[in-house]
């Protein structure tokens, strides 16, 4: 997948609004593979909606969203499953971890599908993010910041052309934020992928090609 295009897109809930002033909504916008994007947003302007639309779990928008010129509203379940396992990776703002599984099990649940990373490289990522001692602890018992790092590792366990990071460092200190930035840059470069990060304040420090206001 090389391009994600938004053509005059707008969440249904904003249809009545007349004060839309955005680089994304109601514009023709193209995310190109290989470039990195930062989407800055205030609360309530549809940041998570944008991620959900592009990831296919919501369809309540006007306009068109195209992947390589194909309208995503017509994709079948099978096509979405393929995309989510080999083209699109998502670090959800609400993480979507399984609280009864351990940190490692949460990561393995994804990696069992893709077989993308070996056990050693997964453990290495836990170590790099300073949560190696938390691998076998149920996620429910971890802090949100620790859970955020577990979800981040999970998002790396697949091939992708675009990786979406929805507020990836909202609960992390600057040291851990820097580690995440390093890792995601390294991994995305390896895959020739785009990073699209969102932020409502503190943003992931990366060499972005474009910064967009939502």
């Amino acid at each position: 997948m090389k391009q994600i295009k938004l053509l005059n897109a707008l969440p249904e809930v904003f249809v009545q609004r007349e004060d839309i002033c955005s680089d994304v909504w109601l514009k023709d916008l193209c995310f190109e593979r290989g470039s990195h994007y930062l989407i800055e947003a205030a609360s309530g302007v549809g940041k998570s909606s944008l991620c959900s639309f592009i990831y296919g779990n919501r369809g309540d928008y006007r306009g068109e969203i195209l992947f390589d010129d194909k309208d995503i509203s017509r994709f079948s379940e099978r096509e979405w499953i393929t995309l989510r396992n080999s083209n699109l990776s998502m670090l959800f703002q609400d993480l979507r971890l399984f609280s009864e599984l351990t940190a490692m099990e949460n990561v393995r649940l994804k990696n069992d599908l893709t077989h993308f990373k070996g056990s050693a490289s997964i453990v290495a990522l836990f170590e790099e993010l300073s949560i190696a001692d938390k691998m076998d602890i149920p996620v429910a018992k971890l802090s949100f910041g620790q859970q955020q790092r577990v979800a981040f590792i999970r998002s790396l366990c697949q091939p992708y052309n675009f990786i979406f990071l929805d507020e990836p460092i909202s609960h992390l200190d600057s040291a851990n934020s820097a580690i995440i930035a390093d890792i995601v840059m390294r991994e995305a470069t390896e895959q020739g992928a785009s990073i699209i990060a969102t932020s409502i304040g503190q943003s992931l420090s990366l060499p972005y090609d474009y910064t967009l206001k939502l």
Binding site: N85, R96, F98, L101, L109, K110, D112, L113, R154
Partner: protein
């Protein structure tokens, strides 16, 4: 342990599953046992007479002393036949045709040379009422071989009466079927010899039955008398226990031959009981399956957030639903296997009773039950899989 299973087994209600297991086991045992019992006792009621179906009855007029003295007519008139044809309980009526020529039969034992001979008669009914393979039940004048069906009573009369008193050997049905009988037919200036074969014995046909085409041919060759009205009729009826039959027959003074109607009645009642019990079994099974589906649906609803998240990290509906489909399939297969064991044990008990009452009965195997049960469980598993897949599809985002 499989991570997906670890995740999805949460909220599984053991008590609901046990409830389903027990109730469905009861339902399945009832269904399979009913099928097995039916398969086991059916041959007892059908034994020995496959020439005439359960729904055929043979009707004649009652012979009374007054009738005999006054020379009463025992034949059925056209109006009477028409009345029977038009009765609601009748599906069709066939007439017996009697021979109008002289017939003489001679039987000689191959080993001893001893034999018996007698004047006989023949009767025929339309071929559609006789359930014999057409190859055997055919007459060709050039071939000169007449297939006949004998009343079983005749053989018993010979074996237990005549042969004992004359020092002749008793013969089995198998042996006598292989013996060639010489039949001499005469009348209308013709005199011919034929070979005859007994192709079977009947408990219900109290006559010497020959094929319809033989009777037509022989009556025209050896007799110039016009066809006389039949004295016996064979009736195909929907339900031999229909009260309307008894009522009409009483009014008209008709009798059902051999009172073999009872066998038909027993077979009919047996079928009714079997259907009733089978329906109860099916009802219990269907109800328990409904409980299982409700239980699984409840489970899916409780786990709906997980199902949604699994879809978002890339699991397909087929993958997510697999643990549940596997669970229900395993439960259903276990129930089927256990039900077969229970039926096997119960059969062991009742088979002793059957053997005591009917020592000569040859009981069938459990294959039919196994096949029917197997087909049933396959249908249930396919149905369960389909429903679960559809439900998961409706829950995921």
């Amino acid at each position: 342990m499989n991570l997906l299973w670890k995740l999805l087994r949460e909220h599984i209600s053991l008590s609901q599953l046990v409830g389903f297991f027990v109730s469905n086991l009861i339902g399945t045992v009832i269904i399979l046992l009913t099928i097995q019992v039916y398969a086991d006792i059916r041959p007892i009621f059908k034994s020995g007479d496959s020439f005439l179906g359960d729904n055929y009855i043979i009707v004649s007029k009652r012979v009374t002393a007054v009738g005999t003295l006054l020379g009463g007519d025992l034949s059925f008139s056209g109006d009477e036949i028409e009345e029977l044809e038009e009765a609601d309980f009748t599906t069709s009526v066939g007439s017996f045709t009697s021979s109008k020529f002289g017939a003489y039969i001679s039987l000689r034992m191959p080993d001893t040379g001893q034999g018996i001979s007698s004047d006989i008669f023949f009767e025929s009914v339309p071929n559609e009422y006789i359930d014999v393979k057409s190859r055997k039940w055919r007459f060709d004048a050039e071939d000169g071989r007449i297939p006949i069906i004998m009343p079983r009573n005749y053989l018993n009369l010979y074996n237990f009466g005549f042969s004992q008193s004359q020092g002749l050997p008793a013969v089995s049905e198998g042996i006598i079927s292989k013996i060639n009988l010489d039949v001499y037919l005469s009348g209308n200036g013709h005199n011919d010899k034929f070979k005859a074969n007994i192709i079977g014995f009947s408990d219900r046909l109290n006559t010497i039955l020959a094929p319809e085409e033989f009777m037509t041919w022989a009556n025209s060759r050896y007799s110039d008398e016009p066809a006389s009205p039949p004295t016996r009729l064979v009736l195909a009826v929907n339900n031999p226990t229909d009260e309307a039959i008894v009522k009409l027959f009483d009014e008209r003074g008709y009798v059902v031959e051999n009172n073999k109607l009872d066998d038909g009645k027993i077979a009919y009642f047996m079928r009714m009981v079997i259907y009733a019990v089978l329906s109860i079994g099916l009802f219990i099974s269907a109800l328990s399956l409904y409980i299982l589906m409700l239980s699984i649906f409840l489970l899916l609803e409780k786990n709906s957030k997980k199902l949604e998240n699994l879809t978002l990290i890339g699991y397909s509906v087929a993958q997510i639903s697999r643990p549940y489909r596997r669970l229900t399939s395993m439960i259903n297969l276990s129930i089927f296997a256990l039900a077969m064991v229970v039926v096997y044990i119960l059969r062991h008990i009742y088979i002793g009773i059957i053997n005591t009452l009917y020592p000569e009965a040859v009981l069938p195997s459990m294959l039919t039950t196994l096949l029917v049960g197997g087909a049933l469980v396959a249908v249930i598993i396919i149905f369960n899989n389909f429903i679960i897949l559809r439900k998961v599809k409706s829950i995921r985002r």
